[in-house]
């Protein structure tokens, strides 16, 4: 556990889709997870940063709660994307 950035679940629900893989690069605009909330809505999780996805902490179908860590990311020090 370093000082990585982490992606936490914004809501309670079930992981419906994981759009990324471990050790792959992610960018500011990437959708990372899709969570089916208890209300039945599909919540898309994305993060406004780019970096290397170090580890996935959840699997498809797993029940998650708000605040649960979904993945750890080694954040890029420079902004890779542009506005």
């Amino acid at each position: 556990m370093g000082y990585d950035e982490m992606i936490t679940s914004p809501c309670d629900g079930v992981i419906e889709q994981i759009c990324v893989q471990e050790n792959c690069r992610i960018y500011e605009w990437d959708s990372l997870f899709k969570i089916r909330t208890s209300d039945g809505d599909l919540e898309t999780v994305s993060l406004g940063l780019s970096g290397l996805l170090r580890s996935l902490e959840v699997y498809v179908g797993e029940e998650v709660i708000s605040g649960m860590v979904l993945a750890y990311i080694a954040e890029d020090l420079v902004v890779s994307g542009s506005d």
Binding site: M1, M6, V79
Partner: protein
């Protein structure tokens, strides 16, 4: 056989166990020995201690074979003492263990028995090392043994014990045991009659582990004491091992504390078993985690101390779970729970490692904000920079300038010496700058020196540098010249024509040998500098006149670039004028612009000062204009076309008369042609023949074509 044994020897009286009860009674009544022997199938197999029998049964009572069976002692247990055989220590113990010892003759036949006390007396009487029973026994024990009497004095001990307490037999025997061992422990054992085990006794001379074991008599009174002593190195080893484990524990705690802010071990129910020394303050609402040992941590979630409980999640999911926990006070803690399974695959323990990320989170968001800001600043800077670029950009639309620029771009890939020719104010330095920026030396320095602006002596030291003490007033440390400073880069020598002839030689040497010799030095320093020279003078003419060295001219005239004067490319004038006016507008936040007529007027002007003059004029116009639209009339006032005819041309610098004449003539013809368009009208204005105008104009055009 020994005489003494023979004295004590009793005959073996025996009868068969298979005898009838009457026979048994008869046998017994005739025996006057304390022991009677039994046979079975004519073999001696057991004996009976009659004292025992009569004590429990009563003498004269009716005894049957089956009753006797209860009292028989097999003779296999009884020691057999055969004359002439050496006596071993175990034999002595055998003697000690039984009432009697059987004696055999040399033919291996039983000849009788002797009682235990007689056997022992005989054994001790014999002068035999092995028979020093107690001594042998004590020395056989790998521990120290001290025998204490009822007066608490040491009465006996073994060798091991003496070694351990580093003393001798003579020194300690009959000494109070309290002088060697712990008096309080001895007293305690004496008074209570209880054994004291594992008492560590350390003095300057020894370190031992002591057991105090009281000897009790039949009345359960303490009659003496056995002190068993064990060497402490063994104990020390164990203690060291414990110390090592303790150290390891401390180290582990320290390691864990640096990796995490808090580590907890809970059982499958969520009850806290262990915890790291370090813990996250203000999270659990306790001063010490020790208070929580044995408590169920999941209950804290229910109480609302924080949420969610990572232990519960890990237990339910049976896998590693990471969660950001929030407390009502706004603390954020990243908790990672790792379940540990037993052999049956059930959760045995859950390890929770937590880190306080409140500060990190805050810093991260601050960092993100700073990043966003610096990105904005960077963009702003880029904008400003590109503005600057714009100011330094060569602006043109004429084909003549395009040719010049194309040539410039081509040659910028090479390190060749370049000679830029052109009138004053045409932008020779800008061209030199472009060569530097476009070329492969763009990361290296670009230095400019105006050869006409610095006195000769100073110019030499400026260009080539000097060593310390080269001349009065020089920097004491010496100085690296322009050539040295521009090493790997580009040196722009403006107004090369003004270079004194002595320095022309020195420059030639630099160009040829690629090394400089600083003033006052005899050593040459190698340099790698691209030279760009520029002049507004006719160097060829100067060579002819002998004022410029021919060899230097050819050396610098490798790639000549002729920058045309502005009057030869009037189409660039509006573009440049527009550009300058825009720069000023941006600088002063104004909105000036030139009327089309005004632009036309600028186009026909002669621009002897070239672009520099145009730039200055525009600034003058903007500063003095009353209206946003700068009219032709206003421009005309500044240019003073009308007056220019009447005003005599002014030359501000000394130049050869012929050159000045040619220059003036050229300007007059071009000006007239631009204004009147036809040679006839121009001839009239210039007051010369039409054919002369035509001829001269053609010549000028041809020269420009070149």
């Amino acid at each position: 056989m020994n005489h003494t044994i023979a004295d004590k020897l009793s005959p073996i009286t025996c009868f068969s166990i298979n005898s009838t009860n009457v026979e048994i009674q008869e046998h017994l009544s005739t025996i006057n020995q304390p022991f009677v022997f039994l046979t079975k199938d004519d073999e001696l197999y057991a004996y009976i201690y009659l004292d025992d029998l009569y004590r429990s049964r009563g003498k004269g009572s009716e005894l049957t074979a089956s009753i006797l069976e209860d009292y028989v002692i097999p003779i296999s247990n009884v020691g057999e003492w055969k004359q002439g055989k050496p006596i071993s220590l175990p034999f002595i113990f055998q003697v000690l263990g039984e009432h009697i010892t059987l004696i055999k003759n040399e033919e291996d036949e039983f000849i009788g028995y002797i009682r235990r006390e007689d056997a022992l007396v005989e054994l001790f009487r014999q002068d035999n090392q092995n028979i020093n029973l107690l001594k042998v026994m004590l020395s056989s024990i790998p521990m120290g043994v001290f025998v204490i009497d009822s007066d608490k004095k040491i009465v006996n001990c073994n060798e091991s014990g003496l070694k351990m307490i580093k003393s001798t037999y003579q020194q300690i025997i009959n000494l109070p045991a309290g002088e060697t061992f712990n008096q309080a422990d001895i007293d305690k054992a004496f008074s209570t009659g209880e054994t004291l085990l594992n008492q560590i006794h350390i003095t300057d001379d020894m370190g031992v582990l002591v057991d105090y074991s009281p000897i009790l008599n039949e009345k359960k009174q303490v009659d003496g004491m056995i002190i068993i002593v064990q060497d402490l190195p063994m104990v020390e080893e164990m203690a060291m091992e414990i110390e090592y484990v303790k150290d390891l524990n401390t180290d582990l705690n320290a390691i864990l504390a640096t990796m995490y802010d808090e580590i907890l071990v809970v059982n499958k129910n969520g009850e806290l078993l262990r915890h790291s020394e370090k813990f996250i303050p203000d999270f659990w609402g306790v001063d010490d985690l020790e208070e929580l040992v044995g408590k169920n941590l999941m209950e804290f979630e229910e109480k609302g101390v924080f949420s969610p409980s990572v232990a519960r999640l890990a237990r339910d999911k049976k896998k590693k779970v990471s969660v950001v926990q929030q407390t009502p006070s706004g603390k954020s803690v990243l908790a990672v729970a790792n379940p540990i399974f037993n052999e049956d695959g059930e959760i045995h323990r859950i390890i929770i490692a937590s880190r306080d990320i409140t500060e990190t989170k805050k810093l991260k968001s601050e960092l993100r904000e700073t990043k966003r800001l610096s990105k904005n600043y960077k963009e702003e800077l880029e904008k400003l920079k590109s503005k600057d670029d714009f100011a330094n950009k060569i602006i043109y639309c004429s084909s003549k300038m395009e040719q010049v620029i194309n040539r410039t771009k081509k040659l910028s890939d090479f390190d060749s010496t370049v000679l830029i020719l052109g009138e004053s104010g045409v932008g020779k330095e800008l061209i030199a700058n472009t060569i530097h920026l476009e070329g492969n030396r763009s990361e290296k320095p670009f230095l400019t020196i105006n050869c006409g602006a610095i006195p000769e002596d100073l110019l030499e030291s400026e260009l080539f540098g000097y060593t310390k003490g080269a001349f009065t007033g020089a920097d004491a440390k010496g100085k690296v010249g322009y050539f040295g400073q521009a090493d790997q880069g580009v040196l722009f020598l403006d107004e090369i024509s003004e270079l004194p002839s002595r320095l022309q030689v020195k420059l030639l040497r630099v160009l040829q040998e690629k090394e400089v010799t600083p003033v006052g030095s005899t050593k040459s320093i190698p340099v790698d500098v691209q030279i760009i020279a520029a002049t507004n003078r006719n160097l060829e003419k100067m060579v002819e006149d002998g004022t410029f060295r021919e060899d230097l001219f050819y050396r610098i005239n490798v790639i000549p670039i002729q920058v045309p004067p502005l009057r030869e490319r009037p189409e660039d004038v509006p573009l440049l004028a527009f550009n300058f006016i825009q720069q000023l507008n941006e600088k002063y936040e104004k909105n000036y612009h030139l009327s089309p007529e005004a632009l036309n007027l600028l186009e026909v002007y002669d621009w002897p000062g070239n672009i520099r003059e145009l730039q200055n004029l525009i600034e003058r116009l903007v500063v003095t204009a009353d209206d946003n639209v700068i009219s032709a009339e206003f421009v005309n006032q500044s240019l003073r076309f009308g007056e220019s005819k009447k005003v005599k041309p002014m030359i501000t610098g000394i130049l050869p008369l012929q050159e000045a004449r040619e220059h003036l003539e050229e300007q007059l013809i071009l000006l007239a042609m631009k204004k009147y368009k036809t040679t006839t009208k121009a001839a009239k204005a210039l007051d010369i023949s039409q054919s002369a105008v035509s001829r001269k104009y053609q010549k000028i055009l041809q020269k420009q074509e070149k």
